[in-house]
Amino acid sequence: MHFKFIRIIAKQEWLSIFRIKTPLALYSVLLALMLLATFTGWQYVNTFNKQQAQAREEVHDHWMNQPNRHPHRVAHYGYLVFREKSPLSFFDFGLDSYVGNSVFLEAHRQNTVNMSEAGFSNGMLRFGQLSMASVFQLLIPLFIIFIGFQTIAGLKQNGVLKILLCQRASYYDILIGKTLGLAAVSWALFLPLLFTALIGGVFLLNGNITPQTGLNIGILLFSYGLYLFIISMMVVAVSALSSSGANSLVVSVLIWILCFVIIPKGAQTLGNYLFQAPDKIAFEHSIEEEISKEGDSHNPDDPHFAELKNKTLKKYGVDSVQNLPVNYGALVMQEGENISSGIFNRHFDQLIKTYKAQNSIATILGFLDPYLAMRNVSMSISGVDFETFSEFQKQTEHYRFNKTKNLNEIHLTQIDYKNDRDQKVGQSNWQQMAEFSFKPFSLSQTMKNSLWGFISLILWTLSGFFVLQYISTLRKYQL
């Protein structure tokens, strides 16, 4: 390797790209698209979050202004939680449009997170959404293909390659130099833009940039830089393997379609095929079955609750539930809640595990398809990935359980067993309860979630050097 030659060739590549008009024309189209995508994405997240915050406040006001009520009424009145989008979601939409935006939390029942944007869309969404991340992941690679497909194949066609090889430069130097030249062009054209858009967007959304978001932005910049480098390598490799520019273009575009359209869809189908997830009916049925086995609070002859009754009576040394110092009805309800919540959580964790297994195929295929690796890393860092969404579901269920437990506690101690239904307690009882707020993943957790994506990207880079080295040793690709 001669760094001097590599530098000269990279510089030459850089200059030759800027000499012709087509790249600039394509660049201006991409630029316009990115500005449009960033602006509309930002605007959408901004209005969406405002709308969600408004709904959240409305629900909170309603909650605080409840009159004196029976605690179990309050438990059924429940709470509505509205999911807000993460600070970086204007850049990468990820799964955001396909997951629900609100969930109703009430006693006895775990409701689904409902009202996704995809459910209110007429299929236009399925063509793919235009976000800055999708421009980076899908279109910039195509841009690199268009500016780079000729790079080696062109030298072969006009015979310059032979002349170059007769001088002191090795073929490997030329390949690396070309890769660096292409990558440098794409870095110079796009990374500053990415940096500005991310910093500006986050700042305008939140008014400040937390250290974690700052770090996330840094990681995004680094991984997209790496991604563009990998794509440049692939384009140079295909160009080196092709006998003519036209061939190189056709093969590159085919690889693009394979990596961006076919493999991602295939990965998900394969995952769903290998790891079958239960449908809702089966899921609910198995939970119900297990609950009735363990203890059904609605069944008066249930052995579990008969035992609970005996134990409680013994504990307080009385002979009937009417004489208990606490409200036995509330005790039964909380026990029922403990049972059903425990069983639900177990099944839900299993369901999430199945989905994760399905998605793991895409993670593995990230070693075959850099787009998948980049997509997963970008979604994780932007907080719009599967893990973040299932974390939201878990936290809302946790909040629901605690809230119900608190209300049952009030019911237990402040409501008499006799004429239970006709009593009420003061509103201050639930006014002190904490409002729901979603705690996003810590940085280390985020890194853990995107670890395989990072490893894929780094492996891609390293093996790229080896592949270029290998190609450079084969005589037939020098002609």
């Binding site: 449009l36 605007q43 959408y44 209005t47 709308q51 969600q52 709904a55 409305e58 309603h62 009520r69 009424r73 059924h76 509505l80 509205f82 990820g94 799964l95 449009s97 396909y98 609100s102 109703f104 409701n111 689904t112 409902n114 009202m115 944007e117 995809a118 459910g119 209110f120 869309s121 007429n122 299929g123 236009m124 969404l125 399925r126 063509f127 793919g128 235009l130 999708s134 195509l142 273009l249 056709v250 575009v253 379609i257 076919i262 869809k265 998900q268 189908t269 769903n272 997830a277 449908d279 809702k280 009916i281 089966a282 049925h285 989905y355 399905q358 998605n359 599967f386 239904r421 006709d422």
Partner: protein, 463 residues
Amino acid sequence: MIFNNKVWSLEVKNFLLGNTVLWGFVSLMLFGLYGFFHGNNVIERQEQILAKIPSVQTAHIQTVVEHGKGKTVGSTAYYPFFYTTNPPSPWAKFSIGQRDVNPFNLKVKMLGIEGQLHDSELTNPLTLLVGNLDASFVFIFLFPLLIIAFTYNTLSEEQESGVWKIVRISSSHTLSVIARKLLIRLAVVLLTSAIVFLMGMIYLSLPFSLPSMQLGIVLLCYVIFWFTLALMIISFGKSSSFNATVLVCLWIFLCILFPGIANIIIDNKIPVPEAQQTAIKQREGYHQKWDMPKKPTMETFYASYPEYRKYPIPEDKYSSGWYYAMQYAGDVESSESSDELFKKLEQRQNLSDLFGQFNPVIAAQQHLNKIANTDLANHIQYLRSVKRHHKSLREYFYPGIFQETLTENLDWNAHPKYEPAGYVTASLLSGIVSMLLWSIAIFFTSTVLFKRNFIHITDKQNA
């Protein structure tokens, strides 16, 4: 000369012997087969789930009634779920559309309907995001690529290899040479699509009826549109690389960017805050009734159901009639924003139909979904039918509730059965007309360009 058989057969040979045709044909076949397999898989699974429902429903009602013995209907009616289904049409396997996103079965209780209407199915969101590689995807996204691969170097290849100069010298009808080459390619493209389509008909066992024919017509128009578009690009007479680049860019623009931008416009122009507002209003409307005098709530109910006025509702204690009247009041109070939501969703549909007029890719996809009954309109229709079913269920149980009948004295199995909304025949006219108009306009532009760039050549050097 155009009828000279020998020249024709040589042209055909020349085209078919290239690797592109074989590769293109085989890969399209394979993708087609995969698409059929996938569509079949997804829809068959939905059908299996739907098939379980009748027995689940019967067993569920039985358990509830068993538990409720000795109690009133009003107390028991709180518990049972009633299932509704949106069974797939036979063409859903061809074009899955929104069927994987929207729930295809919903269970509703006697309680307020608005809080139950938007329950979602359990799904892996990443699967939804990447979407389906079904037959409609093969036709909408992959066929244009096949057309591009077959046509982009039709003339430029011969120009680049120098053959074209000889052709021009030896033939007096350059235009008929061009026409011959293109007609052969068109025939192969049409043949390939016909074969893939027929394979799909057989694999997915689509009935030989109007909707299948409609599918065929939409796809035919769509394939012709892309062919004329490719025609126009090669009529500029530029190099193979130029043609390929421009056509791929057009593909990306029409299949990804245009719909992406259209989607942004739709979201911004017609936002749907009504969805969450309905949820809030229904919950508030129902729950505040507990803390209010019973009379006004009952009046809301009597306004629609005056026949229950004769049953006394005690003001000082709980009664089942009052409970269900409260539930009903919650629905009444949220009905305005609920109607508004449906209206807005219809507006979204109309706006995207409008976008379809300018982009045959959107038009074709929308029409395939329409024919398959897998679009948003179908889902709205389903939700409306669920609402209707909920209404007839309530009306079935109200007499028992108000008369305080005992659970065992009511025939629970005679509750109204849900009738699926049924297949709606799609009207294709606007989409077909717009696709054909685009094709015709593009075709005429290309003939003019062909004449200018290939017949009356001013630049003799490149002729």
